[in-house]
């Protein structure tokens, strides 16, 4: 891409259009040459049509997550990649609500989105993926993604800078030379840290790449009220209000799990 060296990256949105509005305003304020979403537009939140409507209206491009892949193909579940029945129980509630309330036109649009985006920025090969470059629902947690493994992913997929989301927790590793791996986090729910804000990522690439994680405050009370009106599970709402994850916790590795309240 020409004349682009600063891109805003929006991880899982989870139907949190209040956070999306606030994030886009923040990006406008700071200035970015391009903005991309990384998939999982729907999940825990209410009124799943509002996020795709807003992204299309603003002309923002991005990639499929497992949610878009499942919704577009008419799959019976989200293919989130959980293995514990407790995680899957809540994932199913979330997916069923999202599927029932997403219009066919948006489901078809989701199916047209690419699974990955490759950019060439100032000599850096940047790869935008959802879970990982090799699997849409792979969890790249910081504490279970050692450097040699990340180098392998970069080598096998021809990428200097790998960007992903899916886990919900943002992190960045500079692995030497041009190689970076960035989990952009999510704006759909807080980062399991007891704070209500969400996070997006600004990636700047000049001679070298740098990564900034940006906290975004938004009207989480309004989101919580709408979730209650839609009779979504109280556990999902508690996360929005408290900043602590209450569901889909069994997938977390010990280090990430012990940092949360539940």
């Amino acid at each position: 891409m020409h004349n682009v060296n600063r891109i805003a990256l929006i991880g899982g949105i989870y139907s949190n259009y209040h956070a999306l509005v606030a994030t886009l305003a923040d990006i406008s304020c700071r200035g970015a040459d391009a903005t991309f979403f990384l998939g999982d537009l729907g999940a825990f939140g209410p009124h799943p049509d509002r996020v795709p409507a807003l992204l299309i209206e603003r002309g923002i491009g991005g990639i499929q997550g497992n949610y878009e892949e499942s919704l577009a193909s008419g799959s019976a579940d989200c293919n989130c990649g959980y293995t514990d029945p407790r995680d899957n129980e809540y994932a199913q509630i979330s997916y069923d609500y999202t599927s029932e309330n997403t219009s066919g036109v948006y489901k078809r649009w989701m199916g047209t989105l690419p699974k990955e985006i490759r950019l060439e920025i100032n000599g850096h090969r940047v790869l935008l993926s959802h879970g990982s470059p090799r699997r849409i629902n792979e969890f790249l947690w910081r504490s279970t993604s050692p450097d040699p493994f990340l180098h392998r992913l970069g080598d096998e997929h021809g990428a200097d800078v790998i960007v992903c989301t899916h886990t919900g927790l943002h992190w960045h590793k500079a692995l030497g030379g041009k190689r970076h791996v960035v989990n952009a986090g999510v704006i759909g729910r807080p980062a399991n840290d007891g704070r209500t804000n969400v996070w997006y990522t600004m990636l700047t690439i000049g001679a070298e790449a740098s990564v900034e994680f940006i906290p975004v405050d938004y009207d989480h009370a309004a989101l919580a009220a709408e979730m209650r009106a839609e009779r979504l599970p109280e556990e999902f709402i508690q996360t929005i209000e408290s900043g602590w994850w209450t569901t889909c916790l069994e997938a977390l590795p010990p280090k990430e799990r012990s940092a949360g309240r539940f």
């Binding site: 279970t144 050692p146 916790l249 069994e250 280090k255």
Partner: protein, 277 residues
């Protein structure tokens, strides 16, 4: 072989302080068919794994904490990636748990402990694992809890009713009663080899995979794991008593598909199980 993500170490060989009646590799105090691995043995394979970009490391036996090098082995591993130890929980003394806590806190990678139970109470557990074992495991679990380590509890289907959702719910409550407010549970199928073949029955001839597409074979754990023992590198953690499952001396020699000819392969396929957490 699609991708080597998980490297297992048979770190205690087949040497164990108990003799479980369902053990698929018949571990016991006297079974030396695979010997313990030394720190040096492990370090050689860690170096190879680093070059191959392995993602995670698992340690099993036998009983890993019988290995006197276990703490240094974990320290070396956690400098390189995340580690999980599978234990019967009997040797989790206060000092060991304190050292595990220190290792976990000192690494950027996760350290996970998995403790095996085989029933909802002492009577059913000890019927498989031996008299007095439950009581010793309870002490080990208490020591882990005091160090703030939340283990994953692994239960085989030898525990009656565990496979049902009601059974799982009851077991989660049981784990909670041990002092873990975030109970973790993994249920494993039984493999009809080793001691288990005598306890119940061996595999029948029909219990084999007939044909499997490459994509389907790709979901089996043997497409992403290998097992290091004192005798070489094997296809997976289950088949270390099968001569044909020894695939090479080094990890690099084993990165090829394995013929899915064993009854255990059938169990992996029909249950969708993985030995990883």
């Amino acid at each position: 072989m699609m991708s080597l993500d998980t490297l297992w170490f048979q770190v205690a060989g087949t040497i164990c302080n108990i003799t479980c009646t369902h053990c698929f590799i018949s571990c016991s105090p006297k079974n030396h068919s695979h010997e313990m691995l030394s720190l040096a043995d492990v370090e050689i394979r860690l170096a190879e794994a680093r070059e191959l970009g392995v993602r995670e490391y698992y340690f099993t036996g036998g009983e890993p904490f019988l290995n006197r090098d276990m703490i240094p082995i974990l320290a070396a591993t956690l400098r390189q990636g995340p580690a999980t130890v599978l234990t019967n929980g009997m040797l989790l003394r206060r000092e060991i748990c304190r050292q595990l806590r220190e290792l976990a806190d000192g690494s950027e990678y996760s350290l996970d402990i998995r403790v095996s139970l085989d029933g909802f109470d002492a009577a059913t557990h000890d019927a498989i694992r031996g008299a007095g074992v439950w009581e010793r495991v309870m002490i080990g679990l208490r020591n882990l809890a005091e160090e703030g380590i939340n283990p994953s509890i692994t239960v085989t289907e030898a525990a009656e009713g565990i496979a049902s959702s009601d059974g799982r719910a009851r077991f989660l409550e049981l784990i909670r009663s041990f002092g873990f407010d975030r109970p973790r549970l993994k249920v494993l199928p039984l493999f009809r080899i080793g001691a288990e073949a005598s306890r119940t029955r061996a595999y029948a001839d029909w219990e084999r995979i007939e044909t499997l597409s490459d994509a389907d074979a790709g979901v089996l754990q043997c497409s992403t794991c290998r097992m290091v023992t004192s005798k070489g590198v094997y296809v997976c953690p289950i088949l270390i008593d099968a001569d044909d499952a020894r695939m090479g001396n080094s990890i690099a020699e084993t990165l090829r598909p394995f013929p899915l000819a064993h009854g255990a392969c059938h169990t992996c396929w029909v249950t969708g199980m993985s030995c990883t957490t």
